[in-house]
């Protein structure tokens, strides 16, 4: 296994060396020089956003042409037929290179929806969408969350009613990333309001250009709009676009959620690594004459201990991967820590900056931190709230019993 991994890693490196440059060291910097942005969410103007998506599609096509478009997928749909460990290994090596950010395509569509289509869709849908998605031609989004169904996803209320060979969908979805770029969306709908809430749900693949689908950007507290609301008004979907059994959509949703878990926690790199850079933080203390403040120094040390221990945790997980072993709870723990570390960094820096983070003096590297500060609440919510992540750790890793379920049909009807 280990030998096989080394061969695969060498092949990945050959491909990347031929098509990309090595990534620059994002933690190295000189105070006052270069880009000082600390944004976690990159809300771009529409033209730049379209350009970003175009670059993502281009890079996905190159990956696909070279056999890395869908590492775990079956060969008949353009996949490589390898293991999730190969996939994670590819990602870890690719992070060393300067390539287009394909998050728009991959996080939701390729990472979660693709495997769900593969597992539950009828053959004609697989033929139509899977090769297109992994070639970078089609983008998919996840129409799961609703204003009344966030962490408790089984309370979805969007209705689907049978009408001859079609279904008619009505309802509202929320927190939908990349909906504005998507050709298809995987929707969870309520088809049986009288059944226990997990058992009355059906999943459909909805063409995003179908009449009655309306995507509206949802402005978040950072000021930008990285998510959307999707309104479904009398949207007609043929029955052959159903995934899984009627009222059996929860099984489909679980496939997606399991794949979601595999994609979170791998966010260690990225421009925000700069926020935890000892050099940058100490330069900031020098520039603000807080260098000798003992209380701030103690907090800085605590912050760096957490950031470095989290890196050690990632390093261990990576070493396991390279040895062909699927890591244990390291990924979930590092996802939790990642959000907490950035949150702590943002609050530490805001205490160092004082008033300079509440209004822009124009000075380099000061007010720029307000963007990270405003993004931090999201880091404890997205991809499963901190509370849900802790339940998962407690139940799956420590084997603690589940909270007794209180299943009623009333709440989904109201």
């Amino acid at each position: 296994m280990e030998h096989d991994m080394q061969d695969f890693a060498a092949e990945v490196r050959r491909f990347l060396d031929a098509h990309a440059a090595k990534a620059p060291d994002r933690t190295a910097f000189t105070w006052g020089e270069g880009d000082d942005t600390m944004a976690y969410f990159s809300s771009l103007p529409p033209e730049e956003e379209r350009e970003h998506v175009r670059r993502a599609r281009d890079w996905q096509r190159i990956r696909h042409e070279n056999g890395f478009g869908w590492i775990t997928g079956p060969p008949e749909y353009g996949g490589r037929g390898l293991t999730p460990v190969h996939d994670l290994l590819y990602d870890s090596i690719e992070s060393e290179y300067d390539v287009a950010d394909t998050g728009t395509l991959s996080v939701i569509g390729l990472g979660m929806i693709g495997p769900t289509i593969l597992a539950h869709a009828q053959p004609h849908l697989k033929d139509r969408w899977l090769p297109a998605m992994y070639r970078g031609d089609a983008i998919a989004c996840q129409l799961f969350s609703e204003p009344g169904a966030g962490s408790d996803l089984a309370s979805v209320a969007t209705r689907a009613v049978r009408d001859g060979g079609d279904w008619v969908l009505n309802g509202q979805k929320v927190w939908t990333s990349v909906a504005q770029h998507s050709q298809i969306g995987l929707a969870l709908t309520r088809t049986n309001p009288d059944a226990p809430k997990h058992r009355g749900i059906t999943a459909f693949l909805v063409p995003m250009d179908a009449p009655g689908v309306e995507v509206r950007p949802l402005r978040q507290m950072t000021g930008g709009a990285d998510f959307n609301e999707v309104f479904l008004t009398d949207v007609r979907v043929p029955d052959d676009h159903r995934l899984g059994e009627i009222d059996g959509g929860w099984t489909v949703a679980l496939t997606t959620l399991m794949n979601e878990r595999a994609t979170v926690g791998s966010e260690g790199a990225g421009p925000v690594a700069a926020a935890l850079s000892p050099d940058r933080l100490s330069a900031l203390m020098r520039a603000t004459w807080t260098w000798d403040d003992r209380a701030l120094r103690a907090r800085l040390a605590e912050l760096l201990v957490d950031a470095m221990a989290t890196e050690h945790l990632n390093a261990r997980a990576l070493r396991k991967l390279r040895g062909g072993v699927v890591p244990g709870p390291e990924m979930s723990v590092s996802k939790l820590m990642y959000g907490q570390n950035l949150t702590r960094a943002a609050h530490f820096v805001s205490d160092v900056l004082g008033p300079r983070v509440i209004a822009d003096t124009g000075r380099w590297g000061t007010y720029a931190w307000s963007e990270l500060l405003l993004a931090t609440p999201a880091l404890r919510i997205l991809g499963g709230t901190e509370e849900i992540m802790k339940n998962i750790l407690a139940e799956r890793v420590l084997g603690l019993p589940k909270e007794p379920a209180v299943a009623t049909t009333k709440e989904v009807r109201s």
């Binding site: 221990a309 390291e330 603690l400």
Partner: protein
């Protein structure tokens, strides 16, 4: 799984098996109230059957020549079992001080005895302030005139782990050239040792008084500061492994209890408040293990960032163990506060380990210093 990992697993399971047999809770409780605070028979078995005292002593001095990674595995297990034994003082502090001194003659004289388990040793650095800062050392040594390497040592030392029982004492004292390392025989005249009352009864500590005690210089005159810095890095990583092992044990106790203890008609572990407490412990324990094992790895590889990794491991594992030990009592409720329950033994060990080498204010500054901040 690499071959090395499977060997480490084997080492872990044989040490754990040994400790489960020789250091169960009843044995720990008996020893922590007796003098000496370890069982010489068990120590001899650890040496003869598992060769533990010689694990990381170079082969040329009669040891098995393993490195920090193997040492970490053994210390994790000892921390888990709260083993009462002179291992930390002898192997992690004193033997490492001898090796760090670069004094081959002193190593050849003392290490084979340590490796075989016949000699126990202690390292005396801190004085009444508890600080390991060389600038605060006031014990003094003056040349004896009786011959090369012969000195007379005067002053006081405190917080000396196993200081009343160790056969060999390594003492840092000030000379004209600065802090220097000396070897003192337990039987030397003018040496007095009295046990200190300790928060953690499973780790014996002593106050030593030296009144013109004959001593032998180890390494070069004035090199004590450098030796101490090196030993402190190794010792904090060793301690971190012990802490990670103890913290893991606290987590296991809590999770076991939360699964089986019923209140309000359901296992307490099904309440989210308890569940999240356990998840928070798991997070701390995972970080602690990662930090201590990565530091050991970095020591084994002689990586340039080892001093940083050592400081991170010390801070991270100290915090994790104190947290896990506190929350373990909380999860157990009233029963966790009783003398009969082992939770307080871990709490005592956790708190005193956190403060052993100076505590958070000291290790935070050490980390920043090493990062150039």
């Amino acid at each position: 799984m690499t071959a090395i990992e499977s060997e480490l697993r084997e080492l872990r399971s044989s040490v754990r098996e040994f400790l489960e047999a020789k250091s169960p809770e009843e044995a720990v409780r008996k020893l922590m109230e007796s003098e000496p605070r370890f069982d010489p028979a068990v120590w001899a078995q650890a040496a003869d059957q598992l060769r533990l005292p010689g694990l990381v002593i170079p082969e040329e001095y009669g040891g098995d020549g393993f490195g920090p990674v193997e040492l970490g595995v053994v210390l994790e297990e000892m921390g888990r079992a709260l083993l009462c034994a002179p291992f930390f003082a002898t192997v992690v502090l004193a033997a490492q001080a001898l090796l760090a001194s670069g004094d081959n003659a002193a190593c050849a004289r003392h290490l084979p005895g340590i490796a075989s388990g016949r000699t126990t040793a202690a390292l005396a650095v801190a004085e009444d302030s508890g600080s390991w800062d060389p600038a605060l050392i006031s014990a003094r040594a003056v040349p004896d005139g009786g011959g090369a390497g012969a000195w007379r040592l005067s002053g006081r030392k405190a917080f000396v782990i196993d200081g009343t029982t160790a056969d060999l004492l390594l003492v840092v004292a000030r000379t004209v050239a600065g802090p220097s390392l000396f070897a003192v025989d337990r039987q030397a005249t003018g040496l007095e040792a009295e046990p200190m009352q300790t928060l953690d009864a499973t780790r014996a500590m002593a106050r030593l008084t030296f009144d013109a005690v004959p001593a032998t210089l180890v390494g070069s005159d004035g090199a004590g500061g450098r030796v101490m810095a090196k030993v402190l890095d190794i010792a904090t990583v060793g301690l971190a492994a012990e802490q990670a092992g103890g913290a893991r044990r606290c987590l296991e106790m809590s999770a076991d209890y939360a699964r089986t203890r019923y209140q309000f008609g359901r296992p307490i572990g099904s309440f989210q408040a308890v569940k999240h407490k356990c998840a928070d412990m798991l997070v701390q324990v995972e970080l602690a293990e990662a930090a201590s094992r990565e530091a050991a790895r970095s020591a084994a590889e002689g990586a340039p960032d080892f001093p940083v990794a050592a400081a991170v491991a010390h801070a991270c594992c100290s915090r994790a163990y104190v947290f896990a030990a506190m929350e373990n009592i909380q999860v157990h409720g009233g029963i966790g506060f009783t003398w009969e329950h082992p939770a307080h033994l871990y709490f005592r060990r956790a708190k005193s380990s956190q403060l052993l080498f100076g505590g958070p204010a000291v290790y935070h500054e050490r980390l920043l210093d090493r990062l150039g901040i």
